[in-house]
Symmetry: C3
Subunit: 250 residues, 3 copies
């Protein structure tokens, strides 16, 4: 694996996003993450999975500078994989814990949202779905997941403002479940994962499936429509101009 | 326009309900509102719409005294238009802000609920879905919108009690978003509308559609059934008796 | 009636679960409850129904010791009746109030959740959906009802922990609506039921149906799938071992 480091300890697997300084998401990384999760699903020794990032970022989202030159159809392959992957994580039969060691923005925030529990470091780190500020749309499934986490109205406030939230603000809104510190987040995440791991596995998986209740085939056409719209807005003149400025600052 | 006054200022359109003392809703007013909103939708200079009322009321709901003599089929035409209109406002691609300058009751509350943001004057003004107290049913779409605003349990408390709430109580329940004063509500609403207007329009519209996610065709048969039931209860002996007493007091 | 005592007073019917020390649920009791509710539905003098338990328990859930020797198909009949009954109570056209006089656990908690209002005694009594702790799954309908009561995230916390909550904790989470005392709960429940009874009945029923909006035919296949899964996990070696230990302690 090139972009996903993985460790196992006491029945818990930890996956570490590892791509450059900000752990930006690209197709290869998502494919690796999918592959590791597939293997861990069938690994009877593993009861829970922690998702975290290397360095100072969890993930700053899509690898925008790299994506600017992509033809629409290649970009669509990435979006198909991304929307597949967050639904896959949300439906994962084992417990998943996101340890947000730093910024979790846009696509990074979405991967964290798909987990069963989120810890986040206090301090400079921010969490956001800031698409509306630079002119991108979003996806049907991740919005359904967000509404499950924080409720409809808070979801609208997060989405319509595109604001960057501190760990404390995110906790207040229900976007994360616990504030942790840089020193303790690895340990804290491990403890949470072990609590999940102690539960009766088939009962946990079955109840998780029932309470999540986002039926993937039902989401199929809705999600495809959302992806179409996402691509249209992404390649619009105004958004491309904004995205290129992100390139300059990166 | 006879019942809807409209103004434009700095990219924001303001629609003012203007019918008698309480801005009661009738078919002509709803048709006018629909027509103005259609025009504003295609007006590239307008980025957001404010909905407010003239005088001391936002709207006290259906024009009951006027409706008592209506044949069922004419009343149904009004209900069809009303249920169409709140879904239309909820799905409106531009931002909508309700400035509740006074009482927003029953149908008046429902129009306010369909907007993206609600400010309400502190003081005597009340907001309520009081149908259960005088014996009217409600509609599928507006209840779905209410549940989106305040969640299922608070929705039940509002609906099952039929209670009249102050701006402060409504804020606590999430039924409104900000308490304002008579002196500042016009200014405050304008500021909120401008914040919405500053966002990337196609991204905002697309995300709003995804997060609202009330599929109109899906609501079709449910809403028709709700309207049938509404009419049955409305024309029942007991409710008609209650409605006639409202006529006497009006 | 053998397991359901019933009383009528001032337009309110009270049903009292009465089976052994813990009011454990079995098929006969559920059939009796269904029968009494059917009769009360058509009784014009009755405007609301209170559900409570005899002695120190509301209900400790399924009659596990008795169920251990049941063939799968007989157990399935019980589950069919149980899932039918909570949906029936949730859809009941008259107001229903649960007076939790003691522990309301698993199946006992689910019956309480299906009512329109829950009071619970302060003190030792606990409320829980503790299935995950001994290795049972749950049902689609009762999870939908739980999500309606407390929202998605709190539902997940209740379900994934399987924790036992005091009345005060349950109130905080929205799982109950009022904390009462042993001395006053009968009186308090009666007062709540009378407030419901005072409302315009057809309007109340119609609005309750619209706001609950759990479409039973839609739940059919989902619920059948959930029951299949419930049975598979229930009869697994690990869960049977846990259940037999419950037998020993009972």
């Amino acid at each position: 694996m090139k972009y996903i480091l993985s460790e196992k300890k006491e029945g818990i697997a930890t996956l570490i996003l590892s791509l450059g300084k900000v752990n930006a998401l690209n197709l290869e990384m998502l494919e690796e993450m999918h592959k590791v999760l597939e293997i861990l699903k069938d690994d009877d020794e593993i009861k829970a999975v922690i998702l975290t990032g290397q360095g100072k970022f969890f993930s700053f989202g899509f690898d925008i500078p790299d994506f600017l030159s992509l033809p629409r159809e290649v970009f669509r392959q990435f979006l198909d994989k991304f929307t597949f992957l967050y639904a896959y994580i949300y439906d994962y039969p084992k417990a998943t814990v996101a340890a947000l060691n730093g910024h979790a923005v846009a696509g990074g925030c979405i991967l964290a949202m798909a987990c069963d529990y989120r810890l986040m470091v206090t301090g400079k780190a921010k969490i956001a779905l800031n698409e509306v500020t630079f002119g991108a749309s979003l996806f049907a499934g991740c919005i359904a997941i967000l509404k499950n986490l924080v409720g409809q109205r808070t979801a609208e406030k997060i989405l319509f403002s595109g604001a960057m939230f501190s760990a404390e603000e995110a906790l207040n809104m229900g976007l994360i479940d616990r504030v942790s510190s840089e020193e303790t987040i690895v340990h804290d995440a491990h403890k949470v994962a072990q609590e999940f791991a102690a539960r009766h596995s088939p009962a946990f998986s079955s109840i998780k499936k029932l309470v999540h209740n986002i039926d993937i085939p039902e989401f199929g056409p809705l999600e495809r429509k959302a992806i179409d719209k996402f691509i249209d807005i992404w390649y619009s003149e105004k958004t491309m101009k904004n995205l290129k400025q992100i390139k300059i600052h990166a």
